[in-house]
């Protein structure tokens, strides 16, 4: 990856994080989960997937499915930076006059399928990948899952079936931020050794730093070297990445900050002052 490209991705990711923080007030959103998945989405859309404003209906485009769903602010922000979604619409977050809400829906250009109920899009993306295999087309299908989401048995069913049909055009990316809704994954339903689990189910597995664009490039550009298997990319990430005052905290998943806190977090994001967050901790589920 060239220095220039790296700088470009880094600055796009910074702007996506600004969009996310902007949506974290007046009703709030799943800030922690969105910030952990930001770099993944920025990399995939800008450097890997064949998806653009011009080809959203083209059957030969690539597909991105967001299965964990509540990280959709990162997708809204990424789609804005891709020029697919109008930036002004983010002002309509949670307004009944638009469709910018807590989970993905197909009224937003660039969103392929709705989600929110966990463990669904591994199966839906599998169906799309199957069709591409039947037709012999070259599409790449990526499905982003949360690590907590892996509690759902349907994720593992989909891995079994994808492996049975040798769907090497399909990539499950695990946003391994080490938290589920309100607790650390390893304190509730331990997932480790996670790579071994997927390998035992027949998948090709790589594990990388999900905030490192060089790692991401290495993992995704080498997929074709490993044919005949479902690909799983476990991306180790940090919940709340970019905002040290809320990073890696179980209690900062869904946040509804005050306007003043949002201003402080914007400063913190840009490396100026750290934020002093006094907002009530929200346990929304």
């Amino acid at each position: 990856m060239t220095e220039e490209k790296l700088e470009n991705l880094t600055s796009i990711a910074l702007r996506v994080r600004e969009h996310i923080i902007g949506m974290s007030t007046d009703g709030g959103c799943f800030v922690g989960a969105s910030l952990s998945a930001t770099d993944l989405m920025v990399y995939l859309y800008n450097d890997f997937l064949n998806i653009s404003k011009e080809n959203l209906k083209d059957p030969n485009r690539d597909y991105l499915f967001l299965s964990k769903g509540h990280d959709v602010p990162a997708l809204y922000g990424t789609l804005v930076e891709m020029g697919i979604l109008e930036a002004e619409r983010l002002q309509n977050h949670l307004s009944a006059n638009d469709n910018i809400y807590w989970h993905p829906n197909t009224k937003i250009p660039g969103i392929e399928f709705h989600s929110g109920s966990l463990g669904h899009l591994p199966a839906v993306s599998l169906g799309v990948a199957l069709d591409c295999k039947i037709r012999g087309t070259e599409n790449r299908i990526v499905c982003i899952l949360g690590d907590g989401e892996l509690n759902e048995g349907s994720c593992w069913e989909a891995v079994l079936v994808a492996n049975a049909y040798k769907l090497d055009n399909l990539v499950f990316v695990i946003d391994r931020n080490h938290f589920q809704a309100n607790v650390a994954t390893e304190d509730l339903i331990p997932l480790e050794p996670l790579a071994d689990k997927f390998k035992a189910f027949g998948a090709d597995v790589v594990r990388i730093d999900g905030h490192n664009f060089l790692d991401l490039e290495e993992a995704f550009t080498s997929l074709d070297e490993r044919k005949g298997k479902l690909h799983v990319v476990i991306a180790d990430t940090v919940r709340g990445k970019g905002l040290p005052s809320i990073e890696a905290r179980a209690d900062r998943w869904f946040c509804n900050f005050s306007e003043n806190e949002v201003s402080q977090l914007m400063e913190e994001l840009h490396g100026f002052h750290s934020a002093n967050i006094e907002s009530e901790v929200l346990v929304v589920r």
Binding site: P59, H114, V128, D131
Partner: protein
Amino acid sequence: MYEELLKNTALADERFVVMTAENRALVKNLPAVLGKRFIDTGITEQTMIGAAAGLALRGRIPVVHALSAFLSMRAFEFIRTDAGIANLPVKLSSFIPGFLSDGNGPTHQAIEDISIMRGIPNMQVFAPADESDLVTMLPKIWNTPNPAYVRICTRPAKYQHDTNFEIGKAEIISEGTDITILVYGFMFEQALITAEILREQGKSVGLINMRSLKPVDEKAIIKAAQQSELIVTIEDHFLTGGLYSIVAETLLKNRMTADVLPIALNEKWFKPARLNEVLEYEGFTGKQMAEKILEVAVSYEL
């Protein structure tokens, strides 16, 4: 007949794919014919439905096979969320519903399927009386842009059906001024016997095959309620949410009332046994139902 129709449909139209959660009884010859367009996901009803939605996103029409109990309940949230919300043409071939699960026991009894499927926005619900009715109905069902639930019945026909099937239209077998029987699916063949016995007793009897349950033929229900003294609903389904409920909803919506005798499974699973013994034990043979109706008819001075 079912398999032949599906084969010919799929061979003529590339959009069709045949899926199963390792329930191949209805489609055992299709893997060889359809090749990659035959997809068996193993015993994974929910994954099969999600995958069917993904295939439909790519322009396919998946015809999906699984046992009624597991299709309608194990995979329910996937049907509702993936096929229902997106309004995708995922066509559910739900087999061994109702009494047809005979000796399996309550785990396999799908006797709430009509109730839960018709509660899904966009979902259409059909219950053919027999194999002939089934193959009459399927071409139109498979060609709507909506998800559809078909309560499969492949029993040989005991009646020459009207082959002009329309979505949302019931098949009026006969009209009567004393009693009209509304029935769907497998119970149709017993209802034929019931109607015959009632006629022998001098009653004027109507019989309606409610083959399309959603959308339902409201006009047929209203007309039956207007012209008959007593309506009888017959179904191998819980009393809650099936045909009796549909009739009640239709009458209320049209500010009507009627005397309705429901013959259904009231808050109970049925006795597992050979099919003819199930009917006998539960009181659902044509003869037993006729006796039940005649008892009630006395109070209406019919």
